[in-house]
Symmetry: C2
Subunit: 204 residues, 2 copies
């Protein structure tokens, strides 16, 4: 029987890796479809808004990486016990996504001089601003980003964390011991550890 879930993305970690972490964490069988860039133009118009990832289940499709991760977080019991708890998870996820977007804008900047200035500001101000506050949150939340226990916010953060490392050109977590401990803890979860070992190698 075909797996109940099909996750389609490019051949990389990128915006699909959180969902792969969640599916692996939950032991849920899924089809990990990876589209080569040469095949993308033909597929693009068949996606809801010309974007990947797309999750398929029971003949239905849905896009938007964070929305999909939230759905899967509930599926694998890494969500809150009530609506306010889910708000706390969602808020920290959106905050981390804000930081990610601020970094991505710099990556896509083509003017080299402007890019350099933006990078300097990000490294001196933006990244420390966010990571210092996230570090404090993890410290007071028993080592997790929300609710004092493992939630899909942690899997989101850890699966996305290479973005911050790559951008800063160093192990950014060296300065944030609680965030580093969280990353190491999530990546050491048996199902995640196995996935990291067996997943296709890719640059991003």
């Amino acid at each position: 029987m075909a797996p109940a879930y099909k996750l389609t993305y490019f051949n990389g970690r990128g915006l699909a890796e959180t969902s792969r972490y969640l599916l692996k964490y939950g032991g849920i069988d899924f089809e990990d479809v990876r589209v080569e860039h040469a095949d993308w133009p033909q597929l693009k118009d068949k996606t809801p808004f010309g974007q990947l990832p797309v999750l398929e289940h029971n003949g239905k499709k849905a896009g938007q990486s964070i929305a999909v991760a939230r759905y899967l977080g509930k599926l694998v019991k890494l969500a809150g016990k009530d609506d306010w708890e889910n708000l706390e998870i969602d808020a920290v996820v959106d905050t981390i996504n804000d930081l990610r977007l601020k970094i991505m804008v710099i990556r896509f900047e083509k003017d080299e001089e402007k890019k350099k200035a933006m990078t300097e500001t990000a490294l001196k101000e933006t990244v420390p601003y966010y990571l210092t506050r996230l570090e404090a949150i993890v410290q007071k939340n028993k080592g997790y980003l929300a609710l004092g226990k493992l939630t899909w916010a942690d899997l989101y953060f850890v699966s996305m964390s290479p973005t911050f490392d790559t951008f800063t050109g160093e192990d950014v977590f060296a300065k944030y011991p609680n965030l580093k401990a969280l990353r190491d803890k999530v990546d050491a979860l048996p199902a995640i550890k196995k996935w990291i070992e067996e997943r296709p190698k890719s640059e991003f």
Copy 2:
């Protein structure tokens, strides 16, 4: 007795208006706190990530406008009946937010020449790309953005729609009759109509 909910934002519609629409729609009493820009520096450090809006309830605080709107959407029964339905709502909301962010980047661009080129691309390509697809979704969903019925995605879209109008410098909805009908329908809901009449006037 003080209202159970307190929503703090600047003195404008902006990122708080969706939550105000939802609270008004649900007939939920709330404190509509509006911070003047002169008072913001003192308050900034008391917010989770130096940002507004912040929702307070039962002595707890949470930020991130879309996360807060999702919570309130559930509170006022404008959410889905299961996790997949909520995924459908979340995906269309995040898609509209993508469009909003693409427009905001242009607003904040300081290089006039670059801003002009970005605006032209947005008006010719980006905005029509999104709105054409949203128009088709509303057409096939019985006049709504998701699930064939009124959800908080509709209140999100309509409360944010002035962003698109202001940006294009015209009634952008004139070209999209289904989106226009949706906007008119939401703004005609008795509680929303009353709110629009009585809310403080502001530019944004």
